[in-house]
Amino acid sequence: MKITRREFLKQGGALAGSILLGELAPLFAEEKPLVVVVRAQNLLDDTGAVRGELITRMLTRGICELTGISESSKAWGRFVSEKDSVVINEAGTWLPNTPEVLLETVSSCWSLKPRQLKLAYYPHQTKLWKKSIREGLKARGVPQSVMDSRLIKRIPVKPFTTLIMLPTLKSHDVAGVSGVVKHFATISLEGPAVHHPNGMKTAGSVIRKQFGHLKKLIIVDAVRFYQTTEGGFYYEKALLFGTDPVAVDTIALELFLKHCVPKGRILPRLHIESADRDYGAGESDKSKIEIRQINL
């Protein structure tokens, strides 16, 4: 019977493992990155508005399942502690986050009293969006000073310890579909433009190089995807959780393509597979990813 590396290390073989792991590697089953998909079919009320209380439950279930810790604050504590400097990065302009997802994430982190907490947002967000986020923060007792539009493209050089990224998925002119891996290129030091050619094949090159030192929590805001063949939203009513950006993107893209279409003829998997194969940034082979589905 094979055991995983994690189980082996838990059983006290850490020292021996660290010495022997190279030779013994073939004996161990590969540990699969975990992606948790939490869905709430009744997420929207009769008017089409998002039920905020369900978002809170989805976040709690997702983070607990991902960490294997049943208590919510301790589960969040895996990523956010009093010693941590945390930056939360929102989804950007083409398909902004569902405000409740962003606000509840910020609120959960704030309650753990990290040394520093920042919400890095895009300066070109609409006034309406900024207003709704400011008001939402105020209602949750979080100071508006956490919002910072100057941090985009500067996260790697700031003294953060944790990056919590909340991308959405939308069809995209140069990547086919914009999701997690593409979003890393967007917030990289050089910005996305240098990665635009060739279907953004090099987008994943920044993940280890510029963000490798950070604890990463990826929460894909899949409440809605954009766009369907008729140009509208598809309400997936889901959140995806993971720590492997490439694995989360792989699963999110698969969900996206069931109801939505990439922009033009760009191959949307190209840059995700390249992030794995060429840059070792994570796992893009679905058969090597553990997926847990939760329906609320």
């Binding site: 950007g92 302009t93 083409w94 070109h124 609409t126 006034k127 995209h172 002119d173 140069v174 990547a175 914009s178 967007t186 996305p192 433009a193 635009h196 050619p197 060739n198 279907g199 094949k201 063949t229 008729e230 140009g231 509208g232 922009k263 033009g264 003829r265 760009i266 191959l267 190209l270």
Partner: protein, 272 residues
């Protein structure tokens, strides 16, 4: 509810365009119609377009984008955004317009005016591409169309399509499926994406395509150098494409519905 007239929208859009869009007394009309400028007008030139539309800016840049102006208006809770792109020339304007999103249920109203799902209208004329969209609230399609028609009438220039389109045979061509691309981004986005650009499509490379009912999608590419066209032809041949090459021109059929008919179609293409 009358949302607004296009004259009102253009009152603001005229700013920064040096009179290319004819100004009227519309500035005075705005208040009387109850319209309120919510955001803008904003002007973006050259690569500053990334600040307006992120990576999507690659597409207009590929065509020689010059500048754009955008504004958002509000009336009784309805938000409407208007954008006018100024392109290098009429060919570029047609090209950018032609590769903007296509939808099965979109309606060609007249000339270049397309009414898209989600209450959006797009059009082009001369060097200009016009886009208006209801962002939120209620507005009728008829109001959007009225806005677009008046805007188009205010745009200078004519409907001058790219000469390369003449390479596409008329017989069997599905109307209004013609695309024109210039540069690599537009080509990959709208016609064919092959990783690592083996066809050597560069900034100056032009291409046109159209759908043919029985044959598939016909593509004609014009390279600067015949050696580039020949090299691309050989690559396509090796990959099993139906293709034809002459001088600086290359033609091929994508996703042929009937190989025999696709071959016949290719035979009718005059590459010059």
């Amino acid at each position: 509810m009358r949302l607004m007239t296009s004259r009102v929208a253009l009152a603001f859009l005229v700013v920064g365009f040096g009179g290319c869009i004819q100004r009227s007394s519309v500035l005075d009309d705005a208040e009387s119609l109850g319209l309120k400028l919510s955001e803008g007008p904003l002007i973006f030139r050259g690569e500053a377009i990334y600040d307006f539309m992120d990576g999507a800016g690659e597409l207009p840049l590929s065509y020689g984008f010059c500048k754009l102006i955008s504004a958002t208006y509000e009336k009784n809770g309805t938000m409407l955004s208007v954008v006018v792109f100024e392109m290098k020339n009429a060919r570029s304007a047609f090209g950018y317009y032609s590769v903007l999103d296509r939808f099965p249920s979109e309606v060609f109203v007249e000339n270049s005016l397309r009414l898209l799902p989600r209450r959006e209208v797009i059009s082009w004329k001369g060097r200009w591409v016009f886009v208006a969209r209801v962002e939120s609230g209620r507005a009728q399609s008829s109001e959007l169309l009225e806005l677009a028609r008046t805007a188009i009438s205010a745009l200078s220039g004519a409907y001058e399509e790219p000469p390369l389109l003449r390479c596409l045979p008329e017989k069997g061509k599905i109307p209004r499926t013609e695309l024109y691309t210039r540069g690599r981004f537009a080509f990959e986005r709208a016609i064919l994406f092959l990783p690592d650009n083996p066809l050597g499509v560069r900034k100056e490379t032009e291409a046109v395509s159209a759908e043919y009912a029985d044959a598939g999608k016909l593509v004609v590419v014009h390279y600067r150098k015949s050696s580039k066209a020949r090299r691309a032809f050989k690559i396509l041949q090796n990959r099993g494409f139906l293709a034809k090459w002459k001088g600086q021109f290359l033609a091929f059929v994508l996703e042929p519905r009937d190989v025999g008919r696709a071959d016949l179609l290719l035979g009718k293409v005059e590459l010059e």
